[in-house]
């Protein structure tokens, strides 16, 4: 159950700070460049954050009580592989969902 005061604080602060990030250089700082090392790091935010974010759910899904589920693990690996090869997001999602559905059907 989501705590409502907490929820509204998240909406407020996440909204304000996300907007601040977007507005920063476009709105205020203009042509001033970021230091090179920071630009370099920022190129890797998405690949460093997003797969790591879901890694625990891939290995220890809550839905199976935290036990590694072969169907979910294989689906995640298939998604990764198809995504890296095809570079097509929708095809990748379709492949991941298909592998999960087939394996769940076969393994149950």
């Amino acid at each position: 159950m989501i705590d409502r005061p907490q929820f509204w604080l998240v909406v407020l602060f996440l909204g304000i700070s996300t907007y601040a990030i977007r507005f920063s250089f476009l709105g205020l700082l203009g042509r001033r460049p970021l230091p090179g090392w920071l630009q370099r790091c920022l190129r890797y935010t998405a690949v460093a954050v997003m797969p790591a974010l879901v890694a625990p759910a891939v290995l220890w899904p809550v839905a199976t009580g935290g036990h590694t589920d072969p169907a979910r693990l294989m689906a995640a690996l298939a998604t990764l592989a198809v995504g890296m090869i095809t570079k097509q997001m929708m095809a990748t999602i379709a492949a991941g969902v298909a592998v999960l559905a087939v394996l769940q059907y076969l393994l149950v």
Partner: protein, 235 residues
Amino acid sequence: MSLPRQAFLRGCRDALPFLVVIVPFAMLFGLAASEAGLHLYEIMAFTVTVFAGASQLVALQLLQDQAPLLVILATSLAVNLRMLMYSVTLAPHFGAAPVGVRAAMAYFLIDQSFALSVAEFDKRPMQTLPEKIGYFFGVVTPIAPLWMISTIAGAVAGRAIPPEYALDFAVPITFLAMTAPMIRSLPHAVAAGLSVALTLGLAFLPYGTGLLVAAAVGMAAGAMLEYRREKAGRV
């Protein structure tokens, strides 16, 4: 037809293929939020205020885990840090626009408006400021309303989907599908792999705080490797 208007329509048209991604992703958020017990007005307040899908899904997950406010904000903002890069990159193109226009653009600065605009300005470097502005808003014109509508659709449909469909796994698959195509060099693979390994190793830390450490280490490792390879002349 005026040139800015042509640019606007070109933006609209270029955005259309992305709707295939936007619609299901927005529905997924609406669905996950409604399964988490949020009301439709709460879901819409969330999506209109933040307007950054991946970070909304992250925040939603951590809210359900009862994580502390600061952890929720730090983790979801880490997902949005890439937009700092977008803001930096677009600033030289739009610096001369009125501040009101730039303020509106900032709200609509999303992956698609950034990526398409950069590609367009690269392809047609002689465009005037009004044309560039027209193109940028052209891109978000089909995307933003459909994002909102699809969120509502997902929230409403969510209550009708039986739990035995492994919906818990829709978010992991979507996130992996979004990032896998970005892993296009060894530094990217190292950043992702190291971050994943460290996050799993630090899983004993509460509320995913290990992720923050792991992601920072992964980013730094990717950047350092890139720097070394550049110095060695292998870009």
